[in-house]
Amino acid sequence: MKKFVVMMLLVVLVACSLVAVLVGCGKTTDSEAVTFYYYTVGNAGLTSQLNQKLADFTAKTGIKVQPIGIAKDNYNSAISTKFTSKKTDMDVLYLDQPRLAQYASSNLIYALDEYVTTSDSDAETVEQGDQVLFNKNAFNASAWETTVYNGSTYAIPLTLNTSVLFYNVRTVMEALGLADENAAVARMETIKTWADVDKLVADIKTKHGDSAFSSKYALLNGLGESGYLGWYSQCFIASAGGKMYDPQSKVVLPDEDGTATDGLTKLKEWMDLSPKSIYNTNTAFTGTVSAPAGSVIFSLADSSAIEKFNVNYTDFYAIQFPGKTAEIGSKSNIGGENLVIASKSVKKAEAVKLIQYLVSEDCMSLIQACTKNFAAVTKYASLDTVVNAVFDNPKDSVKKMYATIQAQLATAQVRPVVNGWMQVNDTTIPGALKTMIEASGNTAELVAAALATIRSGAGAFIK
């Protein structure tokens, strides 16, 4: 009996292998098609819609497209493997903004200057004879800046994202002693500058005593480690009116007018009001079903965090990142994807046509749904599309959070497009800031030390 089972298994295996090898041999990749690498999010329906759109494009233009979807978590590393591999068939691909400088400096992606124009119309592309021209004015200005490396444009912006300050309305009500949700939202809407945040802190202290921020509340939900801490720190620098990098003098965190010091001092100040023991529990921000008020006032995050806030039992809202003064106004950071053409591609003209199609009205709304980010073409950026892509029955508060993000995008600050910045962002800045946040002592000295560490550390990456 046992022998029979083993024999059967063997026979099945051999039969399978025969079929498999026969079928496998007939399979070849279509070398005529333009390959399109993109990342997939967990929704098979959206992926098939995208494939349908690409089939439409083929029907219209005769250009074959081979879509290659890779899971979002694996996307960046798969792409970099493809770039270094001898065997590469990449034509058009999504590229995470901070990676552009690296690939552009190694000449792995095409400069697209010849396809760029500035036109007064609001059309995203203009056709001039056979040539497709992308109208810079139709795109979000900051998003466009992320594509410019060494004075040349290397990409067409696709989608964008930014960080804002989220809050749990129940926590705020409790912290300020307000009984009405609308009153709490109205109170938070008044926060426009750093001074307003100080006032909020003072109000909470009046209500809960001077030790409110060492025993009961944390102002911020931590800033994370590695890349996120680097990325979030830009909000503080930018809202102090400063820059992360000055390409002329090649100085990291230029500080002649004290902006970098101001920004980091504020970061340190806010983190001092945020004890790790309080923010570092999972219910600190979202609360629990029985007690929906948490103990964290703000969470600095981008739109991807909205999904995580448990929208079933309590409402969350967001405000724009406050500026140092009303004159500087709200400033934040930027993230998102660009479309680039690999320089090993031999189908540049077709690839440009595909990009034109992808940023057109036909595709933009679907891509917003796929990436859950806003369209870089300003007029196609649609609140409803993004919200509906993420939630089946979005509550008003959810829509409001996305609206805040959309408003913040107008003043989002581009990160330095310079080779090596990604490493500075991922290792140098977070390393120095972590030390600064965790240390206790004279704030001015700690900030100065962090600045010095970042500058000297950055030198290893930015050559």
Binding site: A44, A71, K72, K87
Partner: protein, 291 residues
């Protein structure tokens, strides 16, 4: 047998019963910690996301109203998301090719090291045995570099060629061949059989149990292999079940769909385990004792 010789004195008193009960309680408790996750995975994969979120802890396939019902939509979505047809085919090609090539080539080399006489045999064997000390994780980066150099990345060859032989299996098979009675081979040689014929017709059938064990373990290992295919192949059409499942979970599908995918991928090997338990467990023991 040693086992039957030794017996506890057959005392039936309160202490013994209590002891036995305690042992069973501990073991059954531990057993539950192994069964419940799998059971939960199976049940949850048969529920809708909405139903899952609207009820608390349960091990029954309840819908959102609390009635028993089975929902197969997750499997449908997981089938599409895994690209199951293509991926299953790839996995079978890789597993079958690797298993048969492994068995043939390994036993060929093992036989040579066990029985044939040739120049520098022992030196070669020692050098090759030394390479066993290089763990697979260390080889990942170098192997990627060589596959890229050979231009076989992004193809099924990249999943077959680097694993087409196994020094460890050669070592195990050699031990087996050394145990085979030399007289039988001698008799065959006198009758005029060549070395290959002796290997194929006389000796190989004698070590069939070992070959079966190695075949099963090689197949299972290739079936579950993840890191290497993930590193070397990017093309979605070349994914195996394991990498495709990792992609499914990496793109953030619903919890229920991810679990359905995990059931699809893990069930075949668990079923095979229950059928071929004897060989798999035997293989484990062989590996642990000799290795």
């Amino acid at each position: 047998m040693k086992k039957t010789k030794f017996r506890f004195p057959a005392r039936i008193n309160g202490a013994t019963v209590a002891k036995k009960t305690f042992i069973y309680v501990v073991l059954i408790g531990l057993c539950l910690s192994f069964i419940i996750p799998y059971f939960w995975m199976l049940i949850t994969s048969l529920r809708t996301e909405l139903a899952y979120n609207s009820t608390g802890f349960t091990l029954l396939p309840l819908d959102e109203q609390g009635h028993l019902s089975l929902f197969f939509g997750n499997y449908k979505e997981a089938f599409t998301a895994l690209n199951l047809g293509q991926v299953l085919l790839n996995t079978l090609i890789v597993c079958v090719a690797n298993t048969f090539l492994n068995l043939f080539l390994n036993s060929l080399a093992a036989y040579a090291f066990a029985r044939l006489k040739f120049f520098a045999k022992n030196t070669i064997f020692k050098i090759i045995l030394f390479s066993m000390m290089v763990p697979g994780t260390v080889m990942l980066v170098p192997n990627f570099l060589i596959c890229d150099y050979l231009g076989i990345t992004d193809s099924l060859f990249a999943l077959i060629l680097p694993f087409v032989m196994s020094v460890y299996n050669i070592f195990l098979l050699r031990q087996q061949f050394l145990g085979v009675d030399k007289g039988i081979e001698e008799a065959a040689r006198i009758e005029g059989a060549g070395p290959f014929r002796i290997y194929l017709r006389i000796v190989l059938p004698l070590v069939k149990p070992m070959m079966v064990v190695l075949g099963i373990t090689t197949f299972m290992w290739n079936y579950g292999n993840y890191l290497w295919p993930y590193i070397v192949n990017v093309d979605p059409n070349l994914r195996t079940l394991a990498t495709s499942l990792a992609e499914l979970t990496g793109s953030g599908y619903d919890l229920t769909v991810q679990l359905a995918g995990a059931v699809i991928v893990s069930a075949p090997m668990i079923i095979v385990f229950f059928i071929l338990q004897k060989y798999i467990v035997g293989g484990t023991m062989e590996g642990a004792v000799k290795g």
